[in-house]
Each structure stands twice: as C-alpha cells, then as structure tokens.
Symmetry: D2
Subunit: 381 residues, 4 copies
C-alpha cells in the first residue's frame, strides 16, 4: 500500500532548513507511517541560493517569494526556517491559506507578535507544531516518561543551562548569514529567545507552568559592526541571561544562558531534584540520562548513567541496536514522525503553537524583569 504524500514547502534554507529537510527525507526509512513527506519546494530570497539548495537536497522546485509558495495548490504544509522577525507574517498567511504550519522556534520575537499567530492557526484549524526539537531527544523523552510515572515525587528544584562560547570575539559582526542571531531587529533577543526558549519549553513540558520570574541580562561586547549598514552599532541583544523563578508546583527554577562560557559549545543541561529521585541530562552527551533513585538500597545509592539506546527507550526501536548512539539530527526526524502520526490519529504534535505561546510569555517576563530589575509575573496565555 503506497504511502500518502505530504507536500512540503520549506521557507528558509539555512542551518534549520537542512535539519528539517533531512528529517523529511529520513523519516520513512525508520518509522512505519501512513504519510510520506515530499520535498515539493524550497523558498529563499536569493534565486541562486534557493536553486542550489533545491538541487542539493532534491526539492522538486524553488521559489523566491514565500507568498507565492503559500499560494501554490500543490503544497500541503509550510515549514518556516527563516529568522524570527518573519515567522509571524509567514505563519499567519499560511494558516489563512489553509496550510499546515511547522514553525522554527521561537514562535516570534515577542509575545505580542506571537499571539496573532496562534489565533490564526486556531481559527484555521490546521495541524501545526513548533520545532522545540529537544523534547524528542530519547533521553529527554525518557525523563518525561519517568516524571509522568511519578518516580520523582514532589519536585523541589528545576535548573537548566544553555552555555556556548561562539560570540566571544569582538570581531564578529551583527547580521548576515548565521549572524542574524546577533541582530536584535531580526532575532528579537539574544540568548533568551535563541537558547533559553529551548530550556523553558522543556521545563514547561516536564515541570509545568511558571508563575513569576526574576532575571538579569548582560551584553559583554557593547558594539559590533552591523552587516546591513556596514557601521559599528550598539549591540542590542542579551549576550547572557540568568533568571530564577517559581513554578506552579512550588518548585524553584534556575535558568542561565550565555554565549561567553569558554569551553562549552552547545551545553544545554537540565537537572530536576524530586523527593524520591533526581534526573540530569546534557546535550553534549545527549544519548545518556543520569538518574538517582533514593529508593535504591542505601549502600547502593548513586547516580546512574543510562545509555539510552535500547529498543524499549523512546524512539530507539526504530534505529539500530543497543549501545549504538544516535545524534542531534534525529530529534527532528522524531518530530516529523510524530507529526505524520498525528495526521493519522488527529492527535496534536506538541508543542503546538498554543503551547509554544507559553514559552513566549515566559521569555517576555524574563526580558521585562531584567530591564525593570524586579520580579515579573508570567502572563497566562
């Protein structure tokens, strides 16, 4: 029985364009599904770039105007991989055209910008998801499973870090390919929207809603050449951001992100301390989950390193055999697999636009708190 096609129109062909394209191409080799993604068209502002990407990744066609892409009848789903400032118009237009929408994180630059996106999506009633891909690292999904089984008991602490070191050099410009993340106009914010958004998404999923936050930010390099104007201009993004918070469940949260932590490339880590057990994970060894179980015999208590590569671990029966690790890109394959599965079952693919809006609300509260030097309540969305 042939698989049903799902025609994909990809907007943006940078780093995320590659991870998503790979996911679409790999998913049916490893997951049994009713649908098969078809790489119908990629859209980018420069024709040469769009064409080259289409050839490289075997897209059937390319466009240079996302509005045209959305107008095409042969496209079922719009996947948004562009800088943050363009997410809202593309997503809203796509939803209004009745397309499914898969949007890179964060949803938008601000809560205000993101809210209409959710409205449009929900009004259109189209399948949708936001690419907070780390939920689908098997070790992270396993953490969620252990929490849902009640193994941790009452939670006291949730802490997460996302540490990088790639912007320490003052010679790096703001704006341009790969560097729009340093340009506040494109990105909205610095580490808060780029990195802490991941940490917050995972936290909301694993530990529930956040009531209020108290934050501080820092910009270590105050001026950088802007690639748009060619001039040295003030840097308006946050190079580092730290906040503590209260979760609805009474636990204390602590979050930190920076791009100035020499020695860490992409060290997203989290740790959850419960009454009965604790969990730790980090992205640099993403195939492991650390677990401490107070229920073990006293003389045998310790942190256990679970090599999450067995067939009974989340998603892993679809890959290789025990002991053989998968990597970063597989998280996107898993999200596509769940999305396609959702088309068959009608089950939404978390995080939906609605769910991702809560992360946006926390990010807004964090940035407000840092600016106001005081605690801020998170707006309920």
């Amino acid at each position: 029985m042939p698989l049903k096609p799902l025609n994909i129109g990809l907007v943006g062909y940078g780093f995320m364009g590659r991870t998503h394209s790979n996911a679409y191409k790999r998913v049916n080799d490893f997951f049994d599904l009713e649908y098969r993604p078809v790489l119908k068209a990629v859209c980018g502002r420069t024709e040469a770039g769009a064409k080259a990407f289409a050839e490289k990744w075997q897209y059937e066609s390319y466009e240079t105007d996302w509005r045209k892409l959305i107008d095409r009848k042969d496209i079922d789903a719009i996947d948004i991989c562009t800088p943050n400032d363009t997410h809202a118009p593309i997503a809203i237009a796509a939803a209004e055209a009745g397309k499914m929408v898969l949007c890179e994180k964060p949803l938008a630059r601000t809560l205000k910008e993101a809210a209409p996106m959710v409205d449009a999506i929900e009004k259109a009633g189209v399948p949708n998801t936001v690419w907070y891909n780390y939920r689908r690292v098997p070790a992270v999904t396993l953490a969620k499973q252990l929490i849902d089984e009640g193994r941790l008991g009452r939670i006291y602490h949730y802490r997460a870090n996302f540490l990088q070191d790639w912007t320490i050099s003052a010679d790096l410009p703001q704006g341009g390919a790969g560097l729009w993340r340093l340009d506040a106009a494109s990105a909205g914010s610095g580490v808060t929207g780029d990195l802490l958004a991941h940490c917050i998404d995972t936290a909301l999923w694993l530990n529930g809603s956040i009531k209020n936050v108290c934050a501080t930010t820092e910009t270590f390099v105050k001026e950088r050449t802007h690639t748009g104007t060619g001039k040295v201009e003030p840097v308006k993004i946050d190079d580092a951001c730290t906040f503590f918070c209260r979760f609805e469940n009474g636990s204390l949260g602590l979050f930190e992100s920076t791009r100035y932590a020499r020695g860490h490339k992409a060290l997203y880590t989290f740790e959850i301390n419960g009454e009965k057990a604790s969990i730790k994970w980090d992205l640099h060894d993403l195939h492991r989950l650390e677990y401490f179980d107070y229920g073990d015999p006293a003389i045998l208590r310790g942190w256990k390193s679970i090599h999450v590569t067995d067939g009974d671990h989340p998603y892993m029966k679809n890959w290789w055999v025990p002991g053989l690790q998968i990597g970063y890109e597989h998280t996107f394959v898993h999200q596509v697999a769940d999305f396609l599965q959702g088309l068959s079952t009608g089950k939404p693919t978390s995080p939906t636009f609605r769910e991702a809006l809560e992360t946006q609300a926390v990010c807004d509260a964090v940035l407000d708190s840092a600016e106001q030097h005081k605690w801020e309540d998170v707006i309920q969305v």
Copy 2:
C-alpha cells in the same frame, strides 16, 4: 551539473543492509561528490522479505538469487551484507563479473577462504572496500591524524576491548535471524570474527602490523538449540577471546572481547600509550576522544576530553555546528563518501580487500593460538 549515478545492488537486508542503505541515501545531502548512489536492487532469499525491504527503503527492484543480481547489466556495485559464509562466493562472482564490490566485515570465515577473494578482486581490478566502519568515526580518524603527525612518539602499549552482554541467557538459540552470529557454520567464529576483527582492523591501521599472538578463548554456554535442526547442539563459537601480541613497532598489544560482560552493550574501546602522548576512545561515547599530552605544562597535565564536533575535525564540517553530535550510522555515510570520492580520484578506499586480509590473518593466528595453547606467528599476507 547532474551527478553521475552509481547503481547499487545490495545482497542481504538485515541490520547491515539498513546501515548501508541509509548511507547511500544520505551521502549526497551532506557531501559534495561527483557520484550519486542509486538503490537499484536488493537481493534476499525470501521474496516477501526482499520486497518489503525494497519498498521500505525505496529500492527500485528486488531479486531472490544473488547470481541474477550480479548478472544484471544495470548494476555497478555489489554490496554484500549476508552472513560470513556467503561472502566469498558472492564477492568472487561479482568481481569476475566486473562489478565493484563492497563487502561487510569480516572478509570471510578464515584466511583460507578470504585469500581467493582478494585474488579475484585484484585480478578484476575493480574498486572495492570492506566495511570496517569504525575507522570513520570522526574521533577515530582524528586519532589516526594525531598519530600520523607524530604526536605520540614511540608507542609502548596498544589495548582494545569489545565488550557486550547480549548472549548471556542460555535460552538464546544458535542460528536464525540475527542469531547466525552464534552458529559457527555461518559465522566462522564468535567474538573473534565479529568483534575483535574490528579491534584488529583499527589497530593495524593506527599501529601497524602484528608479528605474533598468544590467545585464549572460552565458550560459557556449551549447548544451545540450533534453529536449523531444532535440536540442542554444542556451541562451536568463542563467547570470549583474549590475546596479547607484539606489534612490528615493538609495542605490546592486548585485546579482549566477550559477549558476557554484563553492563556493556557495544563497548568498543581502545587506548594507545606513547612516549609523548596517549589516546583513548570508546564507542559508547563515540563523539569524544581522550587525549593526554606529556608536553603540557607539568601542573596542567591531564586527560582531555575532546568533543569531536568542530568543523576542523574529520568529516564534521559536512554535518551540523560545534557541540552537536552525530551517531553510529554516520560512519557508513563517511565510508560511502570516501568510496565515491575514490571513484573520482582513483584512490582506493581503505580498508581494501587486500588490507582486510591482514585482519583475517591475525584472526586466524588468534584462533590457532587459543586452540594450540601457544604463541602463533601471524602469516604475512
């Protein structure tokens, strides 16, 4: 400019059939090459199985007799993923038909069986390679680079282990899907050909030839039901094998493999101790290389954990960004990339059949030594 097609005929669709198929399908998304593999046909003994695999992995056709596959004009390269006892006839026939040959490791069950394969390949003059995939783990390739740069100095010790625990249960049968590795008739040997062959291949590559060996083997579970006969029969493979050896460069080697090391799934590790520096690696965290440099300032000496995910690390510029790890399957993609590159440049893809024959000679010496309870010289091939 469209890529040149390379038409693949795959024989065998088990675990290795999947890793190879994945490699063919992914390689052009990540590597800039002149050739593109085309999944022309898969061949398996049962029609239903072959057909299902062809559909799943998008092979254009399927066969149930490998001789027919080799006869097909539209096939450029034969890839052998069948149990060890069938490698020789298929490889020889393929070479004689002028096909390129890519053969799963080990080359054959014995040196005697393997030698004519090399003769046939060299007589035909066809491009060829043997899938000792761990050479192309980026961290292992980096180890090779460091050694070739002379960073270790004189080598004193080379040690390697391959520890698993999946055959401890006495209820496991010998023979059958995935379990032909326990059947001496199919596999030739136990851990020696299956696991130590990997360790030996890496060692020969990194540390040069082995002069002589002294080994011991053990079979912990003496009898298992044979799936072919349905009867309980003696187990003739080695469950565990240990040997020490002398390398040509004067260093001492120590190798161990077992499938009875509770707690280890696929723990291939090696360590090399040189006068100036030492190196460690293990497959359970394959994206890391441990390095000790005696040239560091004395108070700062220590083992360094290199997260092999940067653009200047072997193969890594083709994947994601620093900090984001790849996994097991990528080693096969790298081997295909190098093979296709070799078609353009004329450079052989190591290990060739000729090179893999040396591993076979060591395996033979190891098994002979264990049987004879004495040191054995390795036959020079």
Copy 3:
C-alpha cells in the same frame, strides 16, 4: 632542634572539633615547621562530653566554661567550633585576653554581629584566621594560582553551587546535636550562612569583590519540632537560596544552595569562564581540577581533568606520590600549616577575620535581597 609549642584551647567538640583536632595532630608529620600545636584543653558545656573527647583525642585537660579556658595562662590560641551564635562573644573575649583566635565559619550570624569581632581582633593585634577550609583543597589553590598567572584573561562568568539533600525528611527536628543548623537562633540562617558562605569566600578570593546581589530563598518544610521547646515551631531558616550578582571585575555571578537536591551529599562546585580559559571544580572529586584552554590547538581543545596529586601541585609534595589522592580533612591540616608558618613569617593566614567580614556582608545582602525582593548593594567593609 625541638619545635616551639603552640598551646591550643578548643571550644566545641562536634564535627568541626574533630576536623581541627586532627589537623593539629597531623600537621608536623607532614610539614616542616617551627611550631608544634599542643592539645592543651578542650571546652564543652557538658562535662562528660568534654572529658570523653579529651580522652579520645588526647587533650591534656578539659573545661566546661569557655571563659575559664580563655583565662588560662597556658593557652596560646583559642579555636572556636561552637554554633554560630556563640562565635562573637568567645572571639571578642579571646582577643581581649590576647589570645590568637581561629574561628569556624561563618564569622557570625550577621554582619552587625561580626563587625565588633573584627574590631576586637585588630585592636588586639593577634594572629587570626577563619576556617574557610576549601581554599586549601589543592585543586582550589591551583585554580587560584592559574588565575593569578593570568591564564583565564577577562572573566565573564562565575558560578557556584552547594547542593545537599540531608534535610528533606520532615521528621527531622530543629535544634539539638548536629541539628542546630536548622535552628535560626543558633545558626543565624540556613544554607546561606552554612553553605553559600563557603561559595562566597572562594569567589571573593578567586574573582574579587561583589558589588550587588539579587536573591531568592525558600523554606520547603515550614514547621519542625524544636528540640529546645519540644513543640512544633515554624522553621525560620532558608532551605534553599539562589542569587545572581555583579562582581567588581564586570563578571556575572550565579550562586545556588539547597539541602533539597536529592542525590547530592555535599556537592560544592564552581566554574569560572574566562576569555582565554575556563575552570571547573567539585567537592565530590576534590582531587581533580577541570581546565579548558582556548590556547590549545583547535582540533585538540577540550576539558582536561587534572589529577591534582603531583609534587608540584599546591601542598602535595608533603603527602604521598603522584596518583594517590588525599581527602577532605587535609584542607584543615593545610590551614594549620599555613597558620603556623605565618607565626614564623608574620604573614597573615587568609582568610583573616577582616577578609571573612566581606563574606558576611555578601550574606547579609543576599538575605536582605531575598526578603525585599529586589537588588541590594553589598556594604563595603
């Protein structure tokens, strides 16, 4: 040439009384010094306890009133190991009597209580030190050395944690032997004075002064039986405390402590991120220092685990041979060694009372900030 005696009068014989007594008894076996501590007298409130401790540890005599101990002519130095609320009166009386004073940390319950202690000490001009023992873990002292050598460059981030899990049970009372730490009247505060004080002391030493702080605290178990009254009473200490801060050198600080982090017994960790290098350390493996050097060749960059057991590492030539680790108690031996050395050279033994006052000022600012829900400047002392 016989060593000069230094007659010690110890007040308090709990956990810290043991660590100090051990240090006095061991120091001359391992360090070449002019002075030898003599265990002259131990003082405790209950005669039976004081007498038993004196016998066990070979003190020559015991007292039950610390005023009498201070009055004794045969005592050179008073060592204070009692609960925090008694540090001030004992230290002030001892200083006024012209005795040297060694005081357990924290100096006192509050900055207000501690300030007169410093006045008294400085007026008396007596040798003094506060037992922030972790400065003298060889790995921590090595960190100080590396920083002083300029190896880290500009500092961006300083973060420290002190995580424990021993008070999770609600059945634990407040007050009583070993549990005075849960009684605000005795301890002054909870984790802030007990654990964060250590983190702050190290931070001030390694990274300089702190300008201002923003904190939050939590008390998870709101009521516990008080051993003094026998009644269930509100718990007034902080079970957990988190704060971020600005250092004078422009770096961002982040500190967290809790006694509710299941799985951590005494996990004091710190990490410092500099432009050129980063450092990590943790108390659970106190003999190791993690070091990342951006100056390494790019392909060889990584975190290095330095096993701080060589003769050229701080304090280590006095102990065993490379590879053989020392433990927790040795930090106290080192502090005694430095104190005795200081008697010969006239060099103060850090941290002095004056230096420890700054930690007190930070603790006060932290607790004030947590209560006021706003940033607080640290009072300059």
Copy 4:
C-alpha cells in the same frame, strides 16, 4: 579505661614507613579499640636518617640494626618496610623472637623465599598481616560485601590493570632511594611483584583461586645506570607484564601492569562481570564504586557511580559525613584498626602471611610463564 599499648618497631623509613607510621598515630582518633600503638623505635641502616625520621614522626628511639630491634624486650610488633630482598630474614627472625609481624607486600621476591616465612610465622603462632592495603579502600571492601551477598551471580570475567608512567625516562638509574624497585636484586621483579601483586591479592580475595596463567613481559629500557656499581647495566626487571588466567570458579582473568602507560600515575582498576551484576573500581577515584545491576527495570539500567562516603559504607562511619571523601592513606589506618581489633578478638587480619603466599605463587607462575612462553599451573600453597 586506658588503652593497652602495642609497642611498634618499624624497620625501614621510606615511603611505606611513612604510611604505616601515620596509620599507627591516627587509628585511635577514629576507631574505638582496646589497644593503642606506641611508636617505640624505628630502624634504618643510616643513623642520621633513622634519627631524623624518629624525630619527625615522634618515635621514642631508633636503631640501625634490625637484629637489635628484634632483640628489644619493649617491642611487641615488628613492621617491615624495607626492600623486598630483606623481608624474609627479618620476618623469620622476628617470628622466632615471638614478635608479631606486619610485613609490606610482596611477602618476598619469590615463592621459594616466602614459604619459610610462613612456616616461621605459623610455628611461632604470632599475629601477622601483609600490607595489601587496597583491600581496605572502603569501595573495595564494599565490592567484597556485594559479592559475598551473592549480588553478582556467576562470574564470567575478572580484569585488572595497574598502569603507571614514572619510569619512561631512560635517564632514571636502577637502585638507590626509591629506585630499588628497578633493581632486580632488591625487588625480585618489576611490575609483577610491585603492582600486579596488588591486583592478584584483590582478585584472590574477591574471586577465589587462580588455576593457571599465561603471561608475557617486556623490558622497554634495556640498560640503566646502576647506583650500586655506577655502571650502565642490563635492566633485569619487567617494565610491563600481561597475563590471562583461569579462576577456579570458571571465570576468565585478564591482568596487565606497566610503568609505560603515559598519562596514568597509579591507575589500579578492576572490573568484575557477573551474570546478575558488574562492578568497576579505580584507584584514581578510590572513593567511588561503579555498579551495574541487571535486576534494575530495563529502561533504567545503567552504571551507577556510588560515592562511598556514607556511614553505612565500610569503615566510613569512623570518618566524616556523607559526601566528604577520604584518601589513600586511610587504607593503612583501616588495616591497623583491623589488626588491633584482631588482637582483641583473636581473628586473623587478612591477608595473613599464609594468604599472601598464594599471591606469591601466582606471581611465580606468571614470571615462569612469561619466560617459558607457555601456560603454567599455579602451585597450590
């Protein structure tokens, strides 16, 4: 009630003289015992050295002839810390004089030399022990406890390494202070008697007797200046030794030791693989035990790192509080504590001379096997 004195006469004041002296001086501070060791006399060949050591460590007197020491009526126990070639005469004379004997490992240079020592000790019926101190690392003692409780089930593999790198320089002489270990006349053998003896002792204790062995040795630096003759002479010790063996319980053993493993200072490690569980330990982090339990829920299986610092871990209730590690020297304190306890209870202190003889037999078989290039049976003693 005053403690009973046990008058110690120490022969040899090198590295081991210090570890033992420290143990005698500390044991009563931490363990409740009936006896207290008294440092009566130290004996060394040079008067200046003996006298200086006596002063440093507070021995009451010193001798320069061990025969005189043995003759002294005020000595209860002779502790032998001299090079291996002198163990036998001293131990035999001491036993014949009715003294208790505590002897550094290995018992002697050869089995032949050691056997009469056991005879003399047993004929005299005196309390005795051999300082295989690693049995009393709390983590190692815990391993013994877990095995005795049957937690591992049938054992398949036992492997141990002792890796060092301190003799790589060819400029190092043989003979002289600390370097008698390189002189075959003094030491008997190289790494076999010095390092593998430790590994073998632990193995016999944890895993039972060894039936037969197959070994190889290597001497990387063939000639070194001899400090006795002042001439360059052949090096007759083994720089490296590797052997595999069969234990009586059917498990396979693998042992390796070298002083040419760059990057390892004193890396004694062992791992035991059982049907139900596995254990790992290493001396560089001696306060940890790694444990894998196949009985854990499948999705939660992993290697657990037990921080062996709790009150219910072996020996640890005598030290500090959970999380605070002890070090190398404490193993000697434990052995003294057990020896003194044994004086009260009449229980022998393992390993006794008799038990240490078995290690000697294995060492002999190993060296014979290496020389003969064949399997050797271990002589039953």
